[in-house]
């Protein structure tokens, strides 16, 4: 009998528990900050390195350094490291390592400035992203980034990522 009940249990269980309530479009819009590599999720906006430099100086330079050089063991550098990934001392920065411009935009938008994240309006995020890409030689100083143009910019390490190959060490028994 007990066994029978056990077998029946999945049938007796509700397909759904009807818990939770519908989320309104407004609630989703407020919470949804995801930006995907194809640009989905980017708000309408624009900015270039000229405007970005001003914002960077007032909001970012204190930690990441005036030229994005960072401070060793204190704050990550945002520039440099080009051509180091296959050397004994790889330097991973936005310029040398990050695969997508959207990753940069998304990270600044969700997490920076460190002590007051999510205070920059979209245009400021475009501008400061443009400035960091400019410091890395990826865009020109007056190149306008928008929700349409930015995802199309190919980062130097775009093709630098490959799938998990493990178990790669074959010491099986």
């Amino acid at each position: 009998m007990r066994k029978l009940l056990f077998l029946l249990l999945p049938l007796l269980m509700p397909a759904q528990y009807n818990l939770g309530r519908p989320a309104t479009p407004a609630e989703i819009q407020t919470a949804d900050i995801t930006v995907l590599p194809d640009g989905t999720g980017l708000p309408v906006g624009h900015g270039n390195a000229v405007a970005g430099e001003v914002i960077y100086k007032s909001r970012c330079a204190v930690c990441h350094g005036p030229k994005g050089e960072g401070r060793k063991n204190e704050y990550p550098a945002l520039v440099g490291g080009k051509g180091t990934l296959a050397t004994p001392k790889p330097v991973k920065t936005v310029g040398s390592y990050w695969p997508y411009t959207t990753t940069v935009w998304d990270h600044i938008n969700r997490a920076m400035p460190f002590n007051t994240p999510r205070i920059l309006p979209p245009n400021d995020v475009y501008s400061v992203t443009a400035f960091i890409l400019y410091l890395n030689g990826i865009v020109t100083r007056d190149q306008q980034l928008t929700e349409k143009t930015m995802p199309k910019i190919v980062m130097p390490n775009r093709d630098g990522f490959v799938p998990d190959s493990r178990p790669d060490i074959k010491a099986h028994r």
């Binding site: 818990l19 695969p99 998990d164």
Partner: protein
């Protein structure tokens, strides 16, 4: 590191005095407490390491050398934060499920606790645990080398039940899990894993609510996967067709190979083991019997075997596994040993149920080079000196 060595000594010495002393409060003993505390002699603690000048970006390490069994006291569970510990009011906390679903839903904590619950004992380990050893930096203690590792019993709702309420669209292939910490830490999880009945949206840790530093009031638990994917302070699940390629899954937690390409989405923690006693910073005070104890664990299931060598790696003998041996949980092992007072290197290695054997450092480096930076799982020898002092070998 000197601190943790001192602490280990203090707790070992602390247990010896239980006779009547001058400071004995009263013959009938102390009163009850509404929330217990450990004995005042017990001082073992986490060691904190900040990774930037801004507080809250670092880690604190579990004192493995001082603990027993496979459950880490919640107060000593390791921490790794990218923007500190948020203060969250559970009455105001909610979980939003949206994106490629039939109906986007919001769950309160009460809603989540009404789902059928599951409890599961698992290990949790930072993807960057032991990373220095790949580059030849050997911390003096096991807390320093392996301390981004803990074991707990987690209680919560299988994630699949929550996703089923919202109804997944066929195009939903990934799920971005986001925390409510200051940096909105976010990781993309493949949908097959999100629907794995092992994966929990957890609110309980070792019988009580999660600790704030471990995600209070809600976190993801993905048994066997690198700690960072077990998103803390969980408040949003976004179903997508492609991974978001967030900073923490591209710039961090990716592994550079010798050719300069980096492996991405390397989720599973492969088999590891380490001797926790005697270990670096401790001292054997006499020759004769000493039990060697340690931990083994694997993200691919159960530990099948642990072997110990007490002769500089020349021969290996099987250690006894302490029951229970649970899938994707810490497994305790022990090995009886007589120390003859001579300098010797002791070490352990484990095999998991897939037949995977924990590699030596040399075997690992031969394949991965020195730059992969995460998921280092090489053997960890300790040198017992003739003085009884234990140091890294």
């Amino acid at each position: 590191m000197a601190l943790s060595a001192g602490v280990a000594g203090a707790s070992a010495a602390g247990l010896t005095s239980c006779g009547k002393g001058d400071d004995e409060p009263s013959a009938s003993g102390a009163n009850m407490r509404t929330y217990g505390e450990r004995a005042p002699q017990e001082k073992t603690q986490r060691v904190i390491r900040e990774l930037s000048a801004s507080p809250g970006t670092g880690s604190s390490r579990t004192p493995l050398q001082d603990l027993y069994g496979i459950i880490t006291p919640s107060a000593l569970h390791y921490e790794r934060h990218h923007a500190g510990v948020p203060a969250i009011d559970p009455a105001k906390h909610s979980l939003l499920v949206h994106g490629l679903v039939d109906k986007p839903l919001i769950f309160t904590m009460d809603d989540i606790r009404r789902f059928p619950a599951t409890s599961r004992i698992t290990f949790l380990e930072c993807g960057g645990n032991v990373v220095g050893e790949q580059r030849g930096i050997f911390p003096e203690t096991v807390q320093g080398s392996h301390g981004l590792l803990s074991g707990s019993q987690w209680t919560g709702v299988p994630l699949g039940l929550i996703l089923r309420e919202a109804g997944l669209k066929p195009e939903a292939k990934w799920m971005l899990a986001e925390g409510a910490d200051a940096c909105r830490m976010a990781r993309s999880i493949p949908i097959e894993k999100a629907l794995d009945p092992e994966v929990l949206v957890a609110y309980g840790q070792n019988g009580e609510a999660l600790r704030p530093e471990n995600g209070y009031p809600l976190r993801l638990i993905i048994p066997g996967w690198e700690g960072n994917t077990n998103v803390k302070w969980l408040h949003r699940l976004h179903l997508t067709a492609e991974p978001a390629m967030s900073a923490k899954e591209t710039a961090y937690y990716t592994e550079i190979r010798p050719d300069g390409k980096a492996e991405i989405f390397t989720f599973v923690m492969e088999a590891r083991s380490v001797i926790t006693r005697p270990s670096g910073g401790q001292k054997l005070t006499s020759q004769g019997f000493h039990e060697i104890v340690g931990l083994a664990w694997t993200g691919r299931g159960k530990i099948r075997q642990v072997e110990v060598s007490v002769d500089n790696g020349k021969t290996w003998a099987e250690a006894e596994l302490q029951e229970p041996v649970l899938s994707k949980a810490l497994t305790a092992f022990r090995f009886p040993w007589r120390w003859n007072g001579e300098e010797v290197v002791i070490q352990c290695r484990c095999t998991d149920e897939t037949g995977y054997l924990q590699p030596t450092r040399e075997e690992l480096i031969a394949v991965r080079g020195l730059n992969s930076g995460y998921h280092y799982n090489g053997l960890r020898p300790w040198r017992v000196k003739a003085t009884g002092e234990v140091v890294s070998a």
